[in-house]
Amino acid sequence: MVIQLSNIRFSYPNHKDTPILNIPSWSMAEGEHCFIHGPSGNGKSTLLNMLSGILLPNEGVVCVLDQHLNNLTSRQRNKFRADNIGYVFQQFNLIPYLDALENIQLASYFSSSLTKSEVSEEMSTLLTSLNIPESDWNKPVRTLSIGQQQRIAIARALINTPKLLIADEPTSALDNINRDSFMTLLMSTVEKNNITLLFVSHDMSLSQYFNRVESLSELNQVECSNAS
């Protein structure tokens, strides 16, 4: 199992009586592409933070890639995250004043998955396959279009050859045409590299790309839904 959650309970320390997460049991198998539908404010961000090991639950066990995150130190979790989990956000996926290559290098800096020469080789392969023209590789990313930035974000997320890719509303800043080409690229890249994909969005129309679709409100059984 790539993800295995059991009896997860979570609330923020300063709001003890408003639970954010209550997940009795949930899991994802290797190679699965799962679409989780849910508006923001349903514990979505908290769940994703937990899967990437930034937050730990108050109760329950988080198991990612057969690793009990609860048992790791924060240093080990940082390393684990860098090595095994790719992450693509809605926006601000890249350091704006670095260029595409530097952004990807930065991500590989925290991981020991690849050697230096492998990184530069892998970078060109990824950027080329994601349709980023070579002339844009050395421009500060803030000068590039949002569509391009999101595609570079995929390359950044995949550089350490993660087994799990988490995408958090990556298309919401894109227009329709860009969104469709982004999705096609993302799905084919994930397919090619045999990566398990967890995709969270409020846009139901994207569910057509996935073989497993879930609703966050079914997954997360907390009564009140006023999470931050």
Binding site: Y12, S40, S45, T46, L48, N49, S52, I54, L55, S74, R75, N78, K79, R81, A82, D83, Y87, F89, Q90, Q91, F92, N93, L94, I95, P96, Y97, L98, E102, Q105, L106, A107, Y109, F110, S111, P140, R156, D168, E169, S228
Partner: protein, 413 residues
């Protein structure tokens, strides 16, 4: 990677960073400047005279005597008689004696009347004797030996004839026009007030003052003929070298109790340390002010870094998600502070070098201060290191805040 990230993030915010660097560069300029000048002044003063055991002049403050006799700062209060000089210089404890007669000038440079003993015994720095780069020492009444700077600035060559003025102002109305002097020698540079001095014989000084107002009267007198009338009646001060250092204090007491004339004998080293004591309060005040200026620049930098952390919340979040440990964020902010300070130090030191270079002449002419433009001494290196460490300590606050924030942050879009 970390260094690259820090540098690129500074470049990305160049507007505000440039201002912070300017503030810090100026504060470092002031700090280094005060420190360098006070050290150089001390060195320049201490190097001016060496090997002289006692300086004797009319009764006045010991500092005053030291300043006008050696540094040519200020004016002599009174002259002393030639008889007193004769009497003391023949004392068996005395090895050599150099009479000094001041009061005339040439284009703002002071004229020193003395004897050939001066070139034999006067030394500066670490017991360096005066050396001639050209020509010879004065032999004739109307011969003059120039300090290196006088010759260089006024462009005088050997054999040139120059006119001395009465008084020490640069534009004197009473010129000793009738008695031109001939340049017979030029000294090598010493880095002391000697470089700004014209040296003539005591007879020369006497000659230009003998009825100098009734110009023309002596015009046809040959130097040989007047020499014997030119026994000086008084001099400004004299320096003594003793046979044994052990007798210094005894002779000093003897001179101070000299019955025929009120005299004052001082030890140059002791008088100098008195000078430093007086200067210490001023020096410390200046240093304190420059330290405060530096601290305020550091605080400015910290405030800038702190507000930048607010602006960069999403950047910090991103770094955390791709696996950066909180310590990475701490070091990143510290590195930014390090680079800001480093650039400021280079700028401040450069500014100081340029400033000193352009002020050098002014300081030499008006204050007789020789400031070395090379500020790269070990002392200043330590000072710069302290500055660097201090500013990184000041950057601790924003760094710790970024550390704490990145630890406790949660993804909230």
């Amino acid at each position: 990677m970390l260094v690259k990230l820090a540098l690129k993030s500074l470049i990305a915010r160049k507007g505000s960073i440039a201002l912070s660097i300017m503030a810090m560069a100026i504060s470092i300029f002031v700090l280094l400047g005060v420190e360098h000048i006070r050290h150089q002044t001390k060195e320049s003063f201490s190097n001016t005279v060496s090997g002289v055991d006692l300086i004797v002049g009319a009764r006045t403050g010991s500092l005053n005597l030291l300043l006008y006799s050696v540094f040519k700062i200020g004016n002599p209060t009174n002259n002393i008689s030639w008889q007193s000089f004769k009497a003391i210089s023949t004392n068996p404890k005395v090895n050599w004696a150099i009479p000094l007669s001041l009061g005339d000038s040439h284009k703002g440079y002071r004229v020193l009347g003395t004897t050939s003993e001066y070139f034999q015994h006067f030394s500066y720095g670490k017991q360096h004797k005066l050396l001639l780069s050209k020509g010879k020492t004065f032999e004739d009444t109307f011969d003059v030996v120039l300090g290196a700077q006088v010759a260089a600035k006024l462009g005088y060559q050997l054999g040139e004839r120059i006119v001395l003025a009465h008084g020490i102002s640069r534009t004197s109305f009473s010129m000793h026009n009738d008695k031109p002097f001939k340049v017979v020698g030029i000294l090598t540079p010493t880095g002391t007030p000697v470089d700004q001095t014209l040296h003539v014989s005591l007879q020369g000084i006497e000659a230009i003052h003998t009825n100098w107002q009734s110009s023309g009267q002596h015009k046809k007198n040959s130097p040989e003929k007047i020499t014997d009338q030119l026994q000086p009646k008084s001099i400004t001060a004299f320096m003594l070298g003793l046979n044994s250092k052990m007798t210094t204090f005894r002779l000093q007491r003897e001179i101070n109790h000299y019955a025929q004339e009120p005299l004052l004998a001082i030890l140059p080293g002791v008088a100098l340390s008195e000078l430093w004591q007086m200067m210490t309060i001023l020096e410390n005040t200046l240093f304190l002010v420059s330290v405060l200026v530096f601290i305020s620049a550091c605080l400015g930098m910290s405030a800038l870094l702190l507000s930048s952390i607010r602006e960069r919340t999403s950047e910090i979040q991103l770094l955390r998600v791709i696996g950066a440990p909180p310590a990475f964020l701490f070091i990143l902010i510290e590195l930014e502070a390090f680079f800001i300070t480093l650039i400021s130090i280079v700028l401040g030191a450069g500014l100081l070098t340029v400033g000193l270079f352009s002020m050098q002449e002014f300081l030499v002419t008006y204050f007789g201060l020789h400031i070395n433009t090379n500020i790269l001494s070990l002392r200043n290196f330590y000072l710069m290191l302290t500055v660097l460490i201090a500013s990184m300590c000041m950057a601790m606050l924003p760094s710790i805040i970024s550390y704490v924030r990145s630890r406790s942050y949660h993804l909230t879009h």
